[in-house]
């Protein structure tokens, strides 16, 4: 459903990604792993349209979406949950969620989606009138996920959901992602927490210095010697 071919991207004259190619099939849960500064976030930003690629091609559901502005990509069905969440701090939880469904004009559908999100994250229902800026770290991440789900995305792209969260909350977030996957949402996950990630995903790509160096199923990667040595910290 998502195909990326020879993606080149960067900031001004600094190129970060070199010939990144990857694909995601419908219903898959794919991870993009790698060290800090390897270019994971840059890849996601290029997919989501926050960054215009310098070369290569991104196709989604057969449509060439390379270089589309972010709002068109959202319209095409990709929801991107950034590392910094980009919540609307001064608005209530409910308004944030409603904005997640900005492109949808069907009030009934919005209502259904809202109920779905609330059943997924009951805490958000409790705090629906509270301002997003006053939520705790875990709640904010759930709100961001919920907002991303409000548009009924075909593909959910999540960047570092465990960042800055207490270990117990990290587990909840991972469980939530697993549940979402079980419900049929296609997911692309970027994580530094490699072991946990590989345990819940189907396949994974390893990104190193802006290049894809490994691509295999998560099970295989868990056994991969190189990965064990450098990323999993086992010997």
């Amino acid at each position: 459903m998502l195909e990326i071919e020879n993606l080149q991207a960067g900031y001004d004259r600094l190129q970060v990604l070199w010939d990144v190619s990857m694909h995601i099939r419908e219903g898959e849960f794919v991870a993009l792993i790698g060290a800090n500064g390897a270019g994971k976030t840059t890849t996601l930003r290029a997919i989501a349209g926050l960054l215009t690629p310098q070369g290569g091609c991104v196709r989604f559901l057969g449509e060439n979406i390379t270089g589309y502005p972010a709002h068109r990509i959202c319209q095409a069905g990709i929801s991107f949950i950034t590392e910094e969440l980009n919540l609307f701090q001064a608005m209530s939880v409910e308004e944030n969620l409603l904005l997640g469904a900005y492109l949808c004009r069907n009030q009934n559908l919005i209502k259904t989606n809202l109920d779905k999100v609330f059943s997924f994250f009951p805490i958000l229902a409790e705090r629906r009138k509270q301002l997003a800026g006053t939520l705790s770290g875990g709640e904010r991440r759930m709100l961001a996920l919920g907002r991303g789900l409000m548009s009924n995305p075909r593909l959910l792209v999540v960047d570092e959901p465990s960042l800055g969260l207490a270990p117990i909350i990290v587990l909840t977030v991972f469980k939530t992602l697993q549940e979402l996957h079980a419900q049929g949402v296609t997911l692309l996950l970027v994580e530094q927490n490699v072991t946990n990630t590989l345990q819940i995903t189907d396949r994974a790509y390893l990104l190193e210095r802006g290049k894809i160096t490994l691509a295999a199923s998560s099970k295989e990667l868990l056994e991969n010697e190189y990965l064990k040595e450098t990323y999993l910290g086992k010997r």
Partner: protein
């Protein structure tokens, strides 16, 4: 001192404050959403005044219709200038957007002022009144135009509030002011929202100029005074703070009418500017400055 004088001063200040509030709300909106320090805001005020004049006097339309024409035209003028100037600047400017956009509005202000002068000359175009009645408020008789201009400003602000709070597009405008990337990611077309915001701000100014036509006639430089006063307002309450701009509008209106009474026109400017400098010095973020960026929450 006479009680009647105090009452009169407060009333004049309050009615003036209504205009400043609606002008300042436009300024605050444009800054809050687009990060533009709008220096040409006064020119849209003048544009509104000219439109209302020609609609009312030349075309002989009724007052309501004239005001409507003025606001629609200033809305359009705002939209066109955004698309023509700020849109290309946004696409090209990397850092430094705030400063560049500010200089651009300064250039725009000069261009518009002098275009008015070339087209309409230095002639003052005013009317005696839109409505031929006087109202009696608290024992004072006031021309209907004053009261109605005030109510128009209030209605415009209330309508804006409803629009921002209750509609999907309004919510999108607030979203852009709080987090541009977040707004893009939920599918909001930033370019459209920005054009709309600028147009709305210009419309508020244009409507202000139109409704005040009988009190201050249209001429090329008529926008300077309201511009400075509404900048006064947004600076004291903090740039980009819309509800603060309403309160600030009344504070400045009353302050100006009181200081005018005691100091006369020349020294009143000195007094308000000195006050402003002191305020900026001790509270750079404005009276109601907050940490979280938003236009109206």
């Amino acid at each position: 001192m006479d009680l009647a004088i105090i009452q009169d001063l407060l009333m004049t200040g309050f009615l003036r404050g209504g205009l400043y509030a609606s002008m300042a709300v436009g300024l605050a909106l444009v800054f809050g959403v687009m990060n533009i320090c709008h220096f040409a805001h006064g020119e849209y005020y003048v544009l509104g005044a000219y439109c209302a004049y020609f609609a009312f006097v030349t075309l002989g339309l009724n007052p309501i219709l004239s005001l409507l024409v003025a606001s629609v035209l200033s809305f359009l003028a705002g939209a066109i200038s955004e698309k023509l100037l700020f849109y290309p600047l946004r696409k090209r400017s990397k850092g430094e957007w705030i400063m560049n956009a500010f200089l651009l509005t300064a250039g725009l202000s000069v261009v518009l002022q002098n275009l008015f002068r070339v087209f309409f000359g230095m002639k003052y175009r005013g009317i005696t009144q839109f409505w031929k009645t006087t109202f009696h408020v608290l024992g004072m008789s006031l021309p209907a135009d004053r009261i109605i201009a005030f109510f128009i400003a209030m209605v415009a602000i209330a309508a804006l509030w409803l629009f921002l709070k209750k509609t999907r597009i309004g919510r999108a405008i607030r979203a852009v002011s709080q987090d541009e990337n977040g707004a893009k990611l939920v599918g909001i077309n930033l370019d459209r929202i920005q054009t709309l915001t600028f147009a709305l701000g210009s419309m508020l100014a244009g409507l202000g100029g139109a409704s005040m036509l009988s009190l201050s006639p249209a001429y090329p430089y008529a926008g300077n005074k309201p511009l400075i006063s509404s900048w006064f307002v947004v600076t004291i309450v903090g740039l980009g703070n819309v509800p603060g701009a309403i309160v600030g509008g009344f504070i400045v209106g009353i302050f100006e009418s009181v200081s005018f009474f005691f100091l006369g026109s020349g020294w009143q400017d000195v007094a308000s500017l000195t006050l402003l400098i002191l305020l900026l010095l001790f509270k750079p973020t404005g009276l109601f400055g907050t940490q979280i960026k938003s236009v109206w929450e």
